[in-house]
């Protein structure tokens, strides 16, 4: 290790310092919310600036275990945005319930630190440690409402199953290490390329692949490894659900990019069929169950499973020979982050008063009670449905077209994705119908989200619109994707 290694880690160091500073501020001014939030947001802003200052050139650190490249920068920025938005939305929910914000922000930033480490991992062991660093704070956040039994229950389940799946993933990594003799991604890839050239893979490697697939699929919440999702999502405080539905999911796809694409890329013909089946199952089951939900939070939980399925289509398209599948994954991740966090934010605004449920009836007449919130929620839902020219449309279009270009079974998968998108319109638009065609309850109190909340909501709304109209984010995604070899 030397000083330049630390330079490469600068964004992560800044994030850790931010989290520590938040805790220190809380000690200095206990219970004061504004200083903690300000510290967290300013720290994250600096982190983003540091990421940007490093962007544009590629360097490796710690003997090649960690790499700073376009992909790392893209994902880092996304994670920082997720953390900032979550903090902006969280206080409106936590404060009325008497939950502290400083610990929340600090734990969240620690989780993001792990995710950022995942983004730059070029070593299987580091990848695993980083993944754990990302998910462990997530367990804490899921149980953040300590006095709420559902929150605690969801957190426990999430923790136990999460640990179980981490063990499975580690087991798979061990197989790979055993068969290739290295944990460095590039060395592994080279060794596997030789193995793949000989024809079929060894049964031991097949077992390793199975363990790794199952482990990563769990983190993504892909069917049939999704059991934890509904319980954890519904039990968690709503801002945490918002975070869980994007942060760990995109983290898991970062793992997929660094592990399956970078390290296991030579074996892509072997893992392609499994990914196709997983994608098909995931989007179909997620949508079918989402249709039956009357609780919007639970509905979005299942819909996030369905979106995992769509993103997996992009991964499958890569494995089918279309490199554009990777930029499609990255674009999807960015688009999904903003539109989904926005949708959760509106639920948060409705639930500002403790005791308000996220039942669909809560949304009745929202368009009249609060035109801005109603219009933005409609925007997010239309984008999640995939209506042009919003972000969600292009996200779906890019993965689906990449799959069609890859051809073969992937064409069938693309058709299935389109059918699923059509089916999903039903449950998303049902909320819009409630917002605009039903009268609000007589006693519905006025909604008055805080200033910071409004800013966050504006950011998500603008991003949802702008990603659809301006392709800048796609250009960033495709240059980031260029880092990974076809």
């Amino acid at each position: 290790m030397n000083w330049s290694d630390l330079g490469s880690l600068a964004p992560i160091i800044w994030a850790v310092l931010t989290a520590a500073a938040v805790l220190l501020v809380d000690i200095a001014a206990p219970g004061r919310r504004a200083p903690a939030i300000a510290t967290a947001l300013m720290g994250l802003a600096v982190t983003a600036a540091v990421v940007l200052s490093l962007a544009g050139h590629t360097e490796t650190a710690f003997g090649g275990a960690y790499v700073v490249d376009g992909l790392t920068a893209f994902l880092d920025l996304l994670f920082v945005a997720i953390a900032a938005l979550t903090i902006m939305f969280a206080d409106d929910y936590l404060q009325p319930r008497g939950l502290p914000i400083a610990e929340f922000a600090a734990v969240l930033i620690f989780a993001i630190t792990g995710a950022m480490l995942v983004a730059g991992s070029a070593d299987l062991l580091l990848l695993f440690v980083a993944l754990e660093l990302m998910v462990l704070p997530g367990y804490l956040l899921a149980g953040y409402a300590r006095n709420d039994p559902y929150s605690t229950e969801g957190a426990i389940k999430y923790f136990l199953l999460g640990s179980f799946s981490s063990a499975i993933l580690l087991f798979g990594l061990a197989y790979v290490w055993g068969l290739t003799g290295s944990t460095r991604v590039d060395v592994v890839a080279a060794a596997l390329a030789q193995a793949a050239a000989k024809g079929s893979i060894a049964p031991g490697l097949a077992m390793g692949l199975a363990f790794m697939t199952a482990g990563v699929a769990f983190k993504m919440a892909a069917v049939p490894f999704h059991y934890w999702t509904p319980d954890a999502y519904q039990g968690s405080p709503t801002p945490v659900t918002a975070y869980l539905s994007v942060g760990p999911k995109i983290g898991a796809f970062a793992v997929a990019l660094r592990l399956f694409v970078a390290a296991l890329g030579p074996l892509k013909a072997d893992w392609l069929p499994i990914v196709i089946v997983l994608a098909a199952l995931t989007m179909t089951l997620g949508n079918l169950v989402a249709i039956t939900q009357d609780n919007v939070k639970r509905m979005l939980a299942y819909s996030s499973i369905a979106h995992t399925g769509y993103i997996l289509v992009g991964l499958a398209a890569y494995a089918g020979g279309q490199h554009s599948g990777i930029s499609a994954i990255l674009f999807y991740g960015a688009a999904y982050t903003f539109m989904n966090m926005g949708a959760f934010a509106v639920i948060t605004a409705l639930q500002r008063r403790p005791g308000v449920t996220s039942q669909i009836s809560t949304f009745a007449g929202l368009g009249r009670r609060s035109p801005w919130l109603g219009a933005l929620m409609a925007l997010f839902l239309l984008s999640l449905t995939g209506i042009p020219p919003l972000a969600g449309f292009w996200a779906k279009a890019y993965v689906i077209v990449a799959a069609i270009q890859a051809g073969g079974w992937l064409t069938a998968l693309a058709v299935l994705a389109m059918l699923n998108a059509a089916a999903a319109a039903f449950y998303y638009l049902r909320v819009v119908v409630y917002m605009y065609m039903r009268d609000p309850a007589e006693d519905a109190p006025p909604l008055s989200p805080g200033l910071l909340f409004r800013v966050g909501l504006a950011v998500t709304g603008i991003a949802t619109l702008v990603f659809g109209l301006f392709p800048a984010i796609l250009n960033a995604a495709s240059s980031a994707a260029g880092v990974l070899k076809g």
Binding site: P203, A206, A210, A214, W228, S324, R368, Y398, Q405, L469
Partner: protein, 656 residues
């Protein structure tokens, strides 16, 4: 200069957003934003249009555009599919800009008074602004995808505004009908765009036109037909004309703006814009001419007997749009745009007048319950008379020049059948318009006595636009269409159509006052005069200044319409040639039966299968629910089972 272009559509878009968001809170004032947004847009558009029409720099003769940004970058799709967010203005677009923004602005002002008592006024203005944005996007877009976006958006606005009074069942049904019928045409247009992409690999209009010669001829025909299909839907040509008369359920300013002066012209604009495409497919041009002239006579014949004042005007719109398509089809491109412009002004005027009439008689639209209104609402009457004379084709008002060029073009380019039918339609137009004038303004009053004593002229915000529209309706022809075929408009538009006209072999021959052209004009004018006098004799007239006075003779009308041979024609016209009934039979009843059959199949076969699976699943579900009681061990078991399945999958793959 081109930097100004985005302002034109963005101003009304901003108006829409602000009005939509603030309207509920400030229902009495929200319309101000919308009106001023359109006024500002009109100012900018006027500057741009004048520059473009004068072929001034940077527009020149070929037009100039601005690419705002790359909308769909080529690196997104492996096929390189791309489109830019670009606006383009050439003389043709400039003509449309003038029509759209001028009439749009006047309609906005008019609506202040017309919608004054409506609680949803802010919503109305928000929709109108959205419409303005969409229409401007449509005419200014520089690529087909963006045109299509505008195309769909105007359709959406039309739907929203026809159904503006949605608690009224007929309005809701008419809105749905307009939307569904338009889908048929839009589907064709979308397919046409896809065909263009597959053939040429670009959607930028100028590139497409430049390269269109390289497309195989059968594809040229297919693309032209598909684009025309979209135009038929949007401009309500036979057989998709059925939605437009019903669209009159919307507020009258909407009928004037969207369903007479602007949106329905989109089809004409599209065909004119795609003149290199249609020029390459002369077979399709004949189809365009045939559909156009057939719609013209069909709609005119229906307008003869309708009693709802707005429906007469709606069928008249269909008929005039038919003229424009006939003109495009025979290769008289400039004449079509000329008629588009003059028709936009006088038909917009006529609709606003009819709105003013309806306003004054408490919402009554049946002309049999009007009559004798001339003295009570003089401004409305005077302006409507100008409009009626203009559309009838009486020289020297606008309609005379534009219609004369169309008929002359058909005659000289060898489409004698188009000319013959068009000639007859000219007489029919004059007749039904003066029938309308007679029933509404002249003769004894049939107004409900209850309503009679508070008939009043409309407020100034309504009469002002009427007067302002009457001026171009009267003078536009002289101003830009004289001398015929060499007037200003021809100079402006010459570069747009020059190459297509040259390629077609037709020449825009000089107008011959003392030859064929003069003879045609005199013939048409004579027919129009006869038709007007006939209408006066049957439905009355009362213009003291000219010494004209005649009482209507309803018994004679009845007698003529009951005459053998004519009775059937009368019934056919009155029942709109049974098109709605045929459609009802064909699509609603028989289609309904097909749907019922599909429903039966779905219920018994598909549901049977699903229920069968459901029974099995329920059994499995019972077991699954035990797993899902929340016991973590069972979840872990599920994960382990999943792992085993995945592992089995990999082992199968490895064993290959």
């Amino acid at each position: 200069m081109t930097a100004l272009l985005p302002l034109i559509p963005i101003l009304p878009l901003g108006g829409f957003v602000l009005t939509g968001l603030l309207g509920r809170r400030y229902p009495d004032d929200a319309h101000r934003i919308a009106v001023w947004a359109v006024v500002a847009s009109w100012v900018v558009a006027s500057i741009v249009a004048v520059m473009a029409l004068l072929h001034a720099s940077p527009f020149g003769t070929g037009g100039a555009g601005i690419t705002l940004w790359t909308w769909i970058p080529a690196n997104g799709f492996a096929s390189g599919f791309n489109a830019s967010m670009g606006l383009f203005v050439d003389p043709l677009t400039a003509c449309l800009l003038i029509v759209v923004t001028t009439i749009g602005m006047l309609v906005h002002v008019y609506s202040i008074g017309y919608m004054a008592h409506d609680p949803g006024r802010w919503r109305f203005f928000a929709y109108l602004n959205l419409f303005m944005f969409s229409m401007l996007l449509l005419v200014m877009a520089d690529n087909f995808l963006l045109v299509f976006a505008g195309w769909e958006l105007v359709g959406l606005c039309s739907y929203l505004l026809i159904g503006f009074w949605y608690p009224r069942r007929t309005a809701a049904v008419a809105a749905k009908k307009a939307f569904l019928v338009n889908r048929i045409g839009d589907m064709g247009f979308a397919l046409g765009i896809m065909a263009i992409w597959t053939q040429l690999g670009t959607l930028n209009m100028q590139d497409v036109f430049a390269k269109f010669g390289s497309v195989p001829h059968e594809w040229q025909i297919a693309i032209a037909l598909l684009i025309f299909c979209g135009a038929v839907g949007k401009s309500a040509q036979f057989p998709l004309h059925v939605w437009l008369p019903d669209a009159m359920e919307g507020p009258t300013p909407v009928s004037a703006l969207i369903h007479a002066a602007t949106m329905v012209n989109a089809g004409v604009y599209l065909v004119a814009r795609c003149n290199p495409i249609f020029g390459a497919a002369p077979e399709v041009m004949v189809v365009v001419a045939a559909i156009g002239i057939f719609t013209a006579i069909l709609a005119a014949s229906i307008a003869f007997t309708q009693t709802d004042i707005k429906r007469v005007l709606a069928y008249s719109t269909l008929s005039q749009l038919g003229y424009m398509f006939a003109s495009l089809g025979v290769g008289a491109w400039t004449a079509a745009i000329f008629h588009l412009m003059s028709h936009g002004f006088f038909k917009g005027l006529l609709f606003l007048d009819s709105g003013s009439v309806i306003h004054s008689v408490d919402g009554e639209q049946d002309m049999r319950k009007m009559g004798g209104l001339a003295r009570k609402i003089p401004i409305t009457y005077a302006t409507m008379l100008v409009g009626a004379v203009a559309i009838s084709g009486v020289p020297p008002l606008a309609g005379f020049f534009s219609k004369d060029e169309i008929l002359g073009g058909a005659f000289k380019n060898g489409f004698l059948w188009v000319w013959a039918i068009g000639f007859v339609v000219a007489g029919m137009t004059a007749f039904y318009m003066f029938r309308l004038m007679g029933m509404t303004f002249w003769g004894p009053s049939h107004v409900d006595p209850e309503v009679e004593h508070h008939i009043h002229e409309s407020p100034r915000s309504m009469t002002g636009p009427l007067i302002l529209l009457a001026i171009p309706a009267a003078l536009l022809g002289l101003a830009i269409g004289f001398p015929p075929e060499t007037g200003l408009l021809h100079q402006w538009l010459a570069p747009v159509f020059a190459s297509t006209i040259a390629a077609s072999g037709h020449t825009e021959a000089a107008y011959n006052f003392f030859g064929v052209d003069g003879a045609l004009a005199i013939g048409t004018t004579a027919l129009v005069a006869v038709a007007i006098v006939l209408a006066w004799r049957l439905f009355g007239v009362e213009i003291p200044v000219l010494g004209l006075r005649a009482q209507p003779r309803p018994d004679q009308v009845r007698e003529i319409s009951a005459r053998r041979g004519l009775a059937l024609l009368y019934k056919g016209s009155f029942n709109k040639w049974w098109f709605d009934d045929i459609n009802n039979k064909l699509f609603v009843e028989w289609g309904g039966k097909l749907a019922a059959a599909a429903f039966w199949f779905d219920r018994t076969v598909v549901d049977g299968t699903v229920n069968g699976i459901g029974t099995v699943t329920a059994g499995a579900g019972g077991w699954l629910r035990r797993v899902q009681t929340g016991r973590v061990q069972n979840y872990a078991l599920g994960i382990a089972l999943g792992l085993i399945l995945v592992a089995a999958g990999y082992l199968v793959i490895a064993a290959r």
